[in-house]
Amino acid sequence: MTKGKVRALVLRGPGTNCDGETVFAFEQAGAEVTTLHINQLIRKEYNLFDFQVLVIPGGFTYGDDVAAGKVLANELKVKLGKEVTRFVDDGRLILGICNGFQVLMKAGILPRLKKGQAPPLTLTNNDSGKFECRWVYLGVNRKSPCIFTKGMEQMYIPVAHGEGKVMGDLTAITEKNIAVYYTDEKGDRTAGYPCNPNGSINNIAGICDDSGRVFALMPHPERHILGTQHPQWTRLRAKKHGDGFPVFQNAVKYAKDI
C-alpha cells in the first residue's frame, strides 16, 4: 500500500458488474483502489479497517433474485453488519451506487436501523414497470451534509435500473438526508417522468446519513468521469471531466484526513 494515498475498497459479490468503472473513477480521483470479493472479507483475509472508503458498486448481486440487492444485503447484515457499523462510527466513508444503494438500504445501513426495527423505506419497481437506461439531471441539495456532493450543484449522469423507486415512510429521514434529487435540465424538481425515471417519491435519487459520510444513489456518477461519456458531447464539445467526477474527488479529499 502506498503511504499517504487514500485507500478505497470496492466490494464485489456474485453479480457485481460496475466494479471496473468504479475503480477507474476512484483512481482518476487519486485513490489507491482494492477490489475484494465479499467472501474475502468474511473469511477475514483482509481487514476492512485498512481502508478509508468502502464502495458497493452497481450490478445484479445474486441476480437480484427475491428483490434487488436483497440477498447481498442479507449476507452483509448477517456476516459483516457489526464491522460495517463500526466502520461508519469510526468516521469513514461509504458509497453505494445503484445496486449498492439497494444493498445498503435493505441491509439497514442507510438509513441506519436499530435492531429489530422494520425498515421505513425501500427501493422498489420503477413506475414504468421496466428496466430503463437513460440520462438524468440531478439537483444537489445544498443543505445536505453529504461529503460526496460538497460544492456541487447539478449532475447529468445515467440511470440503469428496474427497481429504483424510493418509497415508504419519509418521516424516517429529513430533508437534509436527501442529498440528490431528480430534476429537469433547468433544475425544476416537478418535471415528472422521464426526468424522474422511476417515480421516486419527492424525486429522491440518493440519500445520505446525518453525518454525510454514508451516501448512496441510484444513478451512476462513475459512468460520467470522461467528457466523451456525455451523450451529447459531439454537440457540445467534450469537457475534460464528466459531471460525476467531483463525487469521487470529494470523497478522496475528505478521506485524506481520516
Partner: protein
C-alpha cells in the same frame, strides 16, 4: 417461516405475506380466478438457488428445496374457455411451465441412475433396423456407411454414447457440413464454399493485424501494442422460436462464452443483438398451431437478452430489428459479443498429455439434450412438444461468477487451454480440445444438478454456463482453491493423454472409445448440387404521389425503419463506462445512431467501432447484392461515425432455408461469392462467422422458408475517439451534402414495400469507387471538417435527412435537382427514396465547405441543401415545386409511434 418471510422474502414497505395458507385475500369473492404458474421439472429457476443461499445466511439450515410459482388473480366474469386462452396465449408457455392447482406443489424426487452399458447392435442389424438407427441419430447414408465400416474394422458394436458423440460432432451446427461440402454448381465444382469465398478473402488480404481467424471460437484482431479484440456473432434461432425468453437469454450466454473461450480467454465488453421477427400485427387467427405470436416472441426475446446481458454487465450497444412475415415460425436471434484480452494471450492454447480436464461454472442437468441436432432440423408444428428438453432459461449470475474467476486464473497462468461448452455439450467441447492429444474422461465426476442422469446424458447435456479448461497438474490445487473461494463449481473430470483416443469411463468401466482420427476426419464430405435461379417480381406501377410527406411518414412508420428506442432503453448501454457513441444520439438522446463506439481501455483514447449490415428484402431479388449491400452498410456505418477502413474486420452470419434444395444452395453460393468480391476490394477481412440453415417450417403441407438473411457485423479500430461524429444535425445554416451516386435502385426498398411491391432493381455496389469515396470522407472527418454524418440506407436520402433533422431538433431544406445521379431518373420519389449503396448525408459548417470539397475531390458528392432553424423538413422537386413539407416533430412522431410499447 415467519423469519424467512419477514427478513427475506417480503419487503415490509411494499408487500404483505402469508404462509401455510392457500392464498392472500378473499378467494370466495365472486368472479375471482386464480392461475398459478410454475416451472416444469428440470427447468432450473435461479431464484430458488439465491433464496436457498439467503436462507442459509439467516442461519436456517433445514431447508431441503425451494420452488417458486407465480399466481395471477384475475377478476371478471370469464368462461373456462376465456381463462384457458389467457393462460395459454399469455401466461404459460408449456415448453417450460405448467399451471398448478392452487397451493399444491410437487417436489420431484429424482430416481437414482443404475449403470448399464448400452451397446447398439449394428454389425448384425437388418436393413430396416439400420435405416431406423440412421434416422434416429440423424446421419445421412454416406455418413452412416462410414460409421458401419469403422465398427466392422474394429470388430465390435458401438455403444450409445459413441453414436451420440458422432451425431453431435458431425452435426451441421458443429461442423458446418454445407459450407464444407463439395458442390456441383452449374458446370463448376466448389470444394468447400467457406474456403473458396469468405475465408479465401481473408487469406489473400493477409492483414498483419489479424491475430487469429476462423480457427478459434471467435476472430481476434490487434487493438494496440498491449491488447487484442475478439469478436463473435452467433444465432440462437430454434430455441427462441419455442421459448423466446430462455432461448434468447441462453443465446447471449452462449455467445459470451465464445470470446471467453478464445485464445486464453477474453473479457466481454460489448454486446450486439439483431432480431428478425414476423410483424407484431400479424393476425392471431392466421397463426399456425404450435407457433407463438410474433409479438410474444419479440417481447420474450427482448426480455431474455436484456435480463441476461444486463445481469452480466455487458453493454448492449448495437443492433437491428427487422420484420418479415416469413420469419413467423423461424424468428432469427443473432447475439454478438466483443471481448478484450492481452495480446500475448490471443492464441489458442495447447494442452500437454497429463494435463487435467476441468469443467467449471454451472452444474450439469438434463437441459438442452439434443439441442444441436434440434438446431440443425426443420421445425414442424409438433416441435413445441418434442423439444422440451432443448430449452433452458439460463442463469446469468452463474456465468458472471465463472467469468470473474476465469479471468483471474488466466492472469495467473493457471491453465493451458480454454474452450466453451456449448452446442453438443461436453461431447463437442472435450472431443474438440482432445483432438490434438487424446483424452480420457470419467463421466461420474461431472457435477450434476440432480441425480438420475445416465452417462450418455451427462456427456451430451447442453447445460449452460460451463467452460472447459486444461490445467497442468502442478496448478490444480491453486486453481481449485481459487474457484472455491468465489463459490464457483470446478471439477477435474479427466486427463489428456497422448494416444489420440477419446475414452469415456463411468465408474471405472469403459463406455466409449473412438479414435480422434475417425471422430474428426472420418466424416465423408457432403456432395451437394446447386443452381442459381434469378427471381422475377412484378415491376411497380404507380404514379408519383402528390404528397411525398405522407410517403415519407409511411416509410418512417414501417416496422423495419421505425424507432427501436423501446428496446434499446431496456438494455444497459452504459455499463463498464466505455461508451463514446451510444445507440441513441442527438439533442433528446433518441435519434438513431449509426455504429456504436466504445473505449475498450478507459484510460486510452483508442476506440472500437461496432456496426452491422443486414437487409433481407434485397435477398428476395438477388442474394449476391443482398450480401454486397450488407457489407457496404456495415462499412458505411463505421465511416459515418468517423472511423476508417484501415483496420476493419467483418463477421458473417448466414441464415437460410433448407440448402439441400439446389436453388436454395445456389443463392447461398451467390451470397458467399459477394462476400469474397467485396471484402477483397474493401480490404476488410472476415475473421469469423457462423451459419444457421434449415430455417423452414412445414404447416399443412406448405413449406415456409425464411428469406435469405445475411448479417454482416463490422468491428473497426479507431485511433482517437475524440474524432467521432454523430448523425444529428448540429446547427442551422450549415450545408447538407450527399456523398455517393444515386441510381434507380428501389428493388426491395422500404418505399416499394409500403406500396406492396418488391420490384427488381436491387441496390448494387461498386466497391472500387465506394472505397475511394469512403477513404476521402474519413480524411475529412479526421480533419474535423464533418459536423454530422449519417449512413444512407433504408428509405434513402429522404429518411436519412429526416432522421438527422429530428435527432438534432432542427429543420432542413434540400433540392432534388442537386442530388448527384448515376443515371437519368425523372421522379422525385425515386430519387428521394432509392436505396443505392455507398451514400452518406454530411453536415458541413459554412467555413469548412472549401476545405471539405478539396478533400472530397475525385469522389461524387454535392451540396443539396441547408440545415434550417425552422421546424420543417422541405424538399424542392425536379420541377422546382415543393414536393414535401412536413413538421419535423410530425415526422419524429410517425417514426416513434409504432414501437412505443
Amino acid at each position: 417461516l415467519e423469519s424467512i418471510c419477514r427478513e427475506l422474502l417480503a419487503d415490509p414497505v411494499t408487500q404483505d405475506y402469508s404462509y401455510n395458507s392457500a392464498s392472500i385475500g378473499n378467494k370466495k369473492k365472486a368472479n375471482i380466478h386464480d392461475i398459478e404458474v410454475a416451472y416444469n421439472a428440470g427447468v432450473v429457476d435461479p431464484v430458488e438457488e439465491s433464496a436457498m443461499k439467503a436462507i442459509r445466511d439467516l442461519g436456517i439450515t433445514d431447508v431441503k428445496a425451494i420452488k417458486t410459482a407465480k399466481r395471477y388473480v384475475i377478476q371478471g366474469r370469464l368462461t373456462e374457455k376465456q381463462m384457458a386462452e389467457i393462460s395459454g396465449k399469455l401466461l404459460v408457455n408449456p415448453i417450460i411451465q405448467h399451471t398448478i392447482p392452487s397451493g399444491r406443489y410437487k417436489f420431484a424426487e429424482n430416481p437414482r441412475y443404475h449403470f448399464k452399458l448400452n451397446r447398439i447392435e449394428l454389425l448384425k442389424a437388418g436393413k430396416a433396423k439400420l435405416a431406423e438407427l440412421r434416422k434416429q441419430f440423424g446421419f445421412n447414408e454416406l455418413e452412416f456407411k462410414a460409421i458401419f465400416e469403422y465398427y466392422r474394422e474394429q470388430g465390435r458394436n458401438p455403444t450409445d454414447v459413441e453414436l451420440e458423440t458422432l451425431a453431435q460432432t458431425w452435426s451441421e451446427h458443429c461442423v458446418h457440413k454445407t459450407f464444407k461440402a463439395k458442390i456441383t454448381y452449374d458446370s463448376q465444382i466448389i470444394d468447400n464454399l467457406l474456403k473458396s469465398t469468405v475465408a479465401r478473402a481473408t487469406q489473400e488480404l493477409n492483414k498483419p493485424w489479424c491475430l487469429s481467424v476462423f480457427m478459434d471460437n471467435a476472430g481476434v484482431i490487434e487493438f494496440d501494442d498491449e491488447w487484442a479484440l475478439c469478436f463473435k456473432v452467433e444465432t440462437h434461432n430454434h430455441p427462441s422460436a419455442v421459448e423466446p425468453y430462455g432461448g434468447a437469454a441462453t443465446g447471449i450466454g452462449g455467445v459470451v462464452r465464445d470470446p471467453l473461450g478464445t485464445g486464453l480467454g477474453s473479457k466481454p465488453i460489448a454486446n450486439t443483438d439483431v432480431f428478425c421477427f414476423a410483424p407484431p400485427d400479424f393476425p392471431h387467427e392466421k397463426l399456425p398451431p404450435g407457433v407463438l405470436h410474433p409479438r410474444r416472441i419479440f417481447k420474450g426475446v427482448r426480455a431474455g437478452v436484456a435480463d441476461y446481458g444486463n445481469r452480466l454487465g455487458i453493454p448492449t450497444l448495437n443492433g437491428a430489428i427487422l420484420f418479415d412475415k416469413n420469419y413467423l415460425a423461424n424468428p432469427l436471434v443473432f447475439c454478438g459479443t466483443l471481448g478484450i484480452m492481452p495480446k500475448e494471450k490471443s492464441q489458442r492454447g495447447l494442452q500437454k498429455p497429463g494435463d487435467l480436464v476441468v469443467v467449471v461454472g454451472g452444474k450439469t442437468g438434463r437441459d438442452g439434450i439434443h439441442g444441436v441436432t434440434f438446431a440443425s432440423e426443420q421445425l414442424t408444428d409438433a416441435s413445441g412438444e418434442h423439444s422440451f428438453t432443448s430449452v433452458q432459461i439460463g442463469n446469468a449470475i452463474v456465468e458472471k461468477k465463472m467469468i470473474d474467476v476465469l479471468l483471474q486464473a488466466r492472469d495467473r497462468g493457471l491453465y493451458r487451454r480454454i474452450h466453451d461448452v456449448g452446442g453438443g455439450g461436453l461431447s463437442s467441447a472435450v472431443g474438440e480440445v482432445g483432438a490434438d492429444t487424446g483424452v480420457r474422461v470419467n463421466l461420474e465426476k461431472v457435477p450434476l444438478k440432480y441425480a438420475g442422469l445416465s452417462y450418455t446424458e451427462i456427456w451430451i447435456s447442453e447445460s449452460q454456463e460451463r467452460m472447459l479448461i486444461a490445467v497442468p497438474p502442478e496448478h490444480i490445487d491453486e486453481i481449485l482453491k481459487l474457484f472455491a473461494s468465489e463459490d464457483v463449481e470446478a471439477a477435474v473430470i479427466g486427463e489428456f493423454t497422448k494416444d489420440k483416443h477419446l475414452r469415456l469411463l463411468y465408474q471405472g468401466k469403459q463406455v466409449g472409445d473412438l479414435t480422434m482420427g475417425f471422430l474428426h476426419d472420418g466424416r465423408p464430405q457432403w456432395q451437394m448440387k446447386a443452381v442459381w435461379k434469378p427471381s422475377r417480381h412484378n415491376e411497380p406501377r404507380f404514379k408519383q404521389p402528390a404528397d411525398l410527406g405522407k410517403s415519407l411518414k409511411d416509410i418512417l412508420a414501417t416496422w423495419n425503419v421505425c424507432s427501436k428506442e423501446w428496446v434499446i432503453r431496456q438494455y444497459d448501454h452504459e455499463v463498464q463506462g466505455g461508451s463514446v457513441l451510444k445507440p441513441l444520439v442527438g439533442v433528446c438522446n433518441d435519434g438513431p445512431g449509426d455504429a456504436a463506439i466504445i473505449r475498450p481501455v478507459l484510460a486510452s483514447n483508442k476506440g472500437a467501432i461496432i456496426s452491422n449490415g443486414i437487409n433481407h428484402e434485397y435477398g428476395k431479388i438477388e442474394a449476391y447484392w443482398m450480401a454486397a449491400s450488407a457489407i457496404d452498410e456495415a462499412l458505411r456505418q463505421i465511416i459515418a461515425v468517423g472511423g476508417d477502413l484501415k483496420e476493419v474486420a467483418l463477421l458473417d452470419n448466414f441464415c437460410w432455408g433448407d440448402t439441400r434444395r439446389p436453388e436454395m444452395l445456389g443463392a447461398l453460393i451467390r451470397a458467399a461469392q459477394a462476400c469474397y468480391d467485396m471484402a477483397t476490394v474493401y480490404g476488410t477481412p472476415f475473421v469469423s462467422g457462423k451459419d444457421s440453415l434449415y430455417n423452414e417450417f412445414e404447416y399443412e403441407g406448405k413449406l415456409i422458408s425464411i428469406p435469405h438473411t445475411l448479417l454482416v457485423s463490422g468491428l473497426g479500430v479507431m485511433d482517437n475517439v475524440k474524432r467521432a461524429v454523430s448523425m444529428d444535425f448540429k446547427r442551422a445554416g450549415d450545408s447538407i451534402y450527399v456523398v455517393g451516386e444515386t441510381k434507380n435502385e428501389l428493388g426491395g426498398s422500404a418505399y416499394y414495400l409500403t406500396r406492396g411491391y418488391t420490384g427488381n432493381r436491387v441496390p448494387t455496389v461498386e466497391p472500387v469507387k465506394a472505397k475511394a469515396a469512403m477513404e476521402k470522407l474519413s480524411r475529412a472527418t479526421t480533419k474535423g471538417l464533418v459536423k454530422a454524418c449519417h449512413d444512407c440506407s433504408e428509405g434513402g436520402i429522404g429518411v436519412a435527412v429526416a432522421e438527422m433533422a429530428f435527432a438534432g431538433g432542427l429543420g432542413a431544406k434540400i433540392e432534388v435537382k442537386a442530388i448527384p445521379l448515376a443515371e437519368k431518373i425523372t421522379r422525385d420519389d425515386y430519387i428521394l427514396f432509392s436505396e443505392s449503396n455507398s451514400r452518406f448525408i454530411v453536415e458541413i459548417a459554412p467555413e469548412n465547405k472549401t476545405a471539405f470539397e478539396k478533400v472530397m475531390k475525385g469522389a461524387v458528392f454535392a451540396e443539396v441543401g441547408k440545415v434550417k432553424k425552422s421546424n420543417r423538413f422541405e424538399v424542392i422537386g425536379l420541377d422546382d415545386s415543393k414536393v414535401l413539407s412536413e413538421k419535423v416533430a410530425d415526422l419524429k412522431e410517425a417514426w416513434q409511434k409504432p414501437l412505443r410499447w
